[in-house]
Symmetry: C2
Subunit: 223 residues, 2 copies
């Protein structure tokens, strides 16, 4: 029968949809978009049990959205490709544009009553600034995520260490901060903190997730 084949096709398709249909799994995808990570690290950061995280990762793996790599006793998960990050970004954008609930939840989380979107730097602008060496690019994510993948030319200054680096940054020229992505508070916080110190830092539009989704180059390891 013809419609059997059709139903089977949609069944297979829905596997991907289902994988994106759980808040926990979306959180894992968001973290995986920062770079590869172990199960334990993902579970700890996302605040869920190891077995729970593992189970969700299996679902993502079954949908072929993530791949694994074993190193010793650890298993590293990573997104299966930039197109997965791209799909996730597209879904977030649609959700945000279509649903007032989502925008409200986002504003509540980012703690932005209005928009403090002065001092946004686009990806194109950043590229130009980096080429000319006219910018100090600060990655405020945890070292773990920085090591797993960052924008070439950035230096890692985790939010907690920002206070200690204020003087170094004061003498730098233009400062641009970024973090995980547009659903991440860390760069907002960093700009606020630096602003309190009299340093007019700006924020990169979005963050690592969207950088990766755009297919831009990613560096791994230290420096």
């Amino acid at each position: 029968m013809d419609s059997d084949r059709r139903h089977h096709l949609f069944d297979e398709l829905a596997v991907v949809g289902k994988a994106f249909g759980s808040p926990k799994r979306l959180e894992l995808v968001e973290l995986l978009a920062q770079g590869e990570r172990t199960v334990e690290s993902l579970a700890r950061t996302a605040g869920m049990g190891m077995t729970t995280a593992s189970a969700h990762l299996q679902v993502l793996k079954l949908a072929n959205l993530v791949r694994t790599r074993r190193d010793g006793t650890k298993v590293y998960y990573r997104l299966a490709g930039d197109d997965v990050a791209e799909l996730y970004v597209a879904m977030r954008r649609v959700a945000r544009e279509r649903s007032a609930d989502v925008s409200r939840a986002l504003e509540a989380y980012l703690n932005l009553p209005g928009s403090d979107e002065v001092g946004l730097v686009s990806r194109a602008d950043l590229k130009r600034l980096l080429e000319r060496g006219e910018v100090t690019l600060v990655d405020v994510r945890p070292p773990e995520e920085y090591l797993a993948g960052h924008i070439p030319g950035s230096q890692n200054v985790p939010l907690g260490d920002l206070g200690a680096q204020v003087e170094q940054l004061r003498s730098a020229g233009a400062v641009v901060a970024y973090c995980r992505g547009s659903f991440c508070v860390m760069a907002h916080d960093a700009v606020r903190i630096l602003g309190g110190e009299g340093i007019a830092a700006r924020r990169l539009e979005d963050g690592m997730l969207e950088w990766r989704a755009a297919g831009l180059p990613v560096a791994a390891g230290a420096s």
Copy 2:
């Protein structure tokens, strides 16, 4: 607590994912991408009960992916925007690229052992051909879907009527056929049928769904 707000944000986001997480709902989205339709018509075409279809449509509506319009006793559903079609297309593409199961199910449904992708016309090529009046563009979908939205300049020749129109098409110049989208067999069938009559018809890459997702103009009503 900060992570409460974060969890709430991901809960809201997952509503969209969940909406795309059911084969039946995906089938409805595919049909809705053709143009607005009533619940009864959707249920009949997709082969599900009215109450089932209505329930699934409620889920899509709750996720703000579709909108409704009442006309007399009928309720017309339509996609909330082209970005929804775009998201669906992106999801299909990822699923197809990532999952061998999906490609296999697709090939089984389309009945293509290899690829008979000779005679594909890109959207850009079609645009050029239409501007020069050098093409007869045939929409082989059911009249209902043609009326709800079609490519400007196309004429509706449903698959079942194709036999009766063979002579008219034989005297036409270049013939290009299209249907719902890349997961739809009708244009494949049409090209095969016309080929059997000695008419070298070509197929538009993809179909109405992708046309809409690309934000290209859509005409409604007759002719």
